[in-house]
């Protein structure tokens, strides 16, 4: 690894002060993504500011029936937290679908949000990549792009956001609490991550001198009719080729409320309000779900190796919505997709 300085932040205010004073510094919490990037010479911070000991490790109920998750709660603890398992099982399942137990034990909730969007070329410092080196070009568009995006892409970048947790957070309409020199503010999960456009080097709308302090879940948890389905090249411990988070509220066979988000297909978790509109008020059956899939995938475009993702996503959306409607969410350990 390259040499860097190491300091600890004594509290949130100190963390903000330290990062504002040294723009080439980075916060480190779990470190699972950042240290990996440093080892590949993709991230080159001159100083790491250790925020892992800040008191941001609680999970607590909010006055309006939701839950506030401290940014430093480890992914494992969040997935197995009784409140999350009971009221937000979609979130629990999505977390357990990602990474390995060792990584989940280290990775923080806030860190999961700011892990870099991923592409093999981004990680290979010998190749052009607009995300790593703006203006150098995109190697993936005409390269080996099996894992890359099919939605929301630009001429400059077709990388995907790899988080499973964030796909569920998109469905649950989580709110990100951040603090910076100008004070605290909130960012809706949908507005937190960015599409690449002409600035793929910027993954999120978090300012460089801001810190995530908490993730808030609204009261609605969809704990009866939900499913998270992740399709990947291995049965476990691999990034999604396509993943789907689905949550429904049913009145008999009729869909009262519906939310669907896709992972592994875009620079951010992918939702489409229009797709959810065509679900509401309709019968919960395969043809309704297929209509929604068509709208969610409107404008999808493959780049050669990843063309298969469009058809795969269409089938995965229908299957996941069917699982949610039946009340039989995809199992984490039984790999059969029913």
């Amino acid at each position: 690894m390259i040499p860097f300085q190491y300091t600890r932040a004594s509290d949130v205010a100190d963390a903000i002060k330290q990062i504002a004073a040294d723009p080439s510094a980075k916060f480190i919490a779990g470190g699972t993504n950042l240290l990996d990037l440093i080892k590949y010479d993709v991230a080159t911070p001159t100083r790491l500011i250790d925020i892992s000991r800040l008191p941001l490790g609680n999970v607590e109920e909010t006055a309006n029936g939701g839950v506030l998750i401290g940014a430093l709660v480890p992914n494992t603890d969040l997935a197995y937290h009784p409140l999350i398992e009971a009221r937000y099982p979609l979130l629990s399942r999505s977390i357990l679908a990602g990474a390995s137990q060792q990584l989940r034990n280290m990775a923080s909730t806030g860190g999961n949000l700011v892990q870099r969007t991923r592409c093999f070329y981004f990680y290979d410092a010998t190749t052009p990549c607009n995300k790593r080196e703006p203006g150098s070009g995109c190697s993936a568009i005409d390269g080996i792009n099996r894992i890359n995006a099919i939605l929301g892409t630009s001429q400059s970048c077709i990388a995907t956001h790899p988080s499973d947790m964030c796909v569920a957070l998109a469905v649950l309409e989580a709110i990100v609490h951040v603090t910076g020199p100008a004070g605290a503010r909130t960012i809706a999960l949908a507005d937190f991550h960015r599409l690449p456009d002409n600035t793929p080097q910027i993954d999120t709308n978090l300012e460089p001198d801001e810190i995530i302090t908490a993730i808030e879940l609204p009261a609605k948890g969809f704990s009866t009719n939900y499913s998270y389905l992740k399709i990947r090249d291995r049965l476990s411990y691999a990034f999604a080729l396509v993943s789907v988070a689905a949550a429904l509220e049913l009145d008999g066979d009729t869909i009262k409320e519906a939310r669907v988000a896709l992972g592994g297909v875009a620079h951010k978790p992918w939702r489409s309000p229009a797709a959810e509109v065509v679900l509401r008020g309709q019968r919960a059956d395969a043809s309704t779900f297929a209509n929604a899939a068509d709208i969610l995938l409107r404008g999808a475009r493959g780049f050669g190796h990843n063309d298969f993702k469009i058809g795969l996503a269409r089938r995965a959306i229908v299957r996941t919505l069917s699982q949610a409607a039946r009340g039989t969410p995809q199992s984490i350990s039984d790999k059969k997709i029913r």
């Binding site: 040499p3 300085q5 080439s24 480190i28 470190g31 001159t46 390995s100 034990n105 350990s333």
Partner: protein, 171 residues
């Protein structure tokens, strides 16, 4: 990078930061060492404390060979800075046996021939110790899923699962 483009480092990088003194509790004994900030826990264990049972496989958190228990939880020591674990209790494969008796997992791996080359084994065993402590895996499917962070390129997986089941008392 997102936030680094415009600002040059304030001093020459070559003026390497001084080593930082830390204390770890490793396999029950206090260990004091002085490490550069970028020293991983894996390198601290192997190069500073001569505990070479913990293996460096991929060095990127993808293979699990470096798995150790920190404060009772299994983690990848290759993606952990030693300085961040000041004061932590670390258990490596060398710390599992008690009074000259192998840990039940170590014995089970022998009983079931749960390895071929053995390079992944210390990580597999530490990971399995973490898995048993978590208490989430009950079935073979659940063991497979929650052990997926440990790769065995010899393909000893069926015997590894059997060994873990034996150690869990479910053989």
């Amino acid at each position: 990078m997102t936030h680094s483009g415009t600002t040059k480092p304030k001093g020459p990088i070559a003026a390497a930061p001084e080593k930082i003194p830390i204390t770890l509790i490793v396999n029950g004994a206090e260990a004091k060492l002085s490490v550069a900030p970028w020293t991983t826990l894996l390198d601290a264990l192997r190069d500073y404390l001569d505990l070479t049972g913990t293996k460096k496989g991929c060095d990127h958190g993808q293979c699990g060979a470096c798995t150790v228990l920190v404060d009772g939880r299994r983690i990848n020591s290759c993606l952990t800075l030693a300085v961040m674990k000041e004061g932590a209790e670390v258990t490596t494969v060398e710390g599992l046996a008690r009074n000259g008796e192998l840990h039940p997992l170590q014995q089970a791996f022998i009983d079931h021939d749960a390895f071929q080359c053995g390079y992944c084994t210390s990580g597999q065993i530490c990971s399995a110790a973490g898995l048993i402590a978590e208490g989430k895996a009950k079935t073979a499917d659940e063991i497979r899923e929650l052990m997926s962070g440990n790769i065995c390129r010899c393909g000893a997986y069926p015997n590894i699962v059997a060994a873990i089941q034996q150690a869990m008392g479910r053989s």
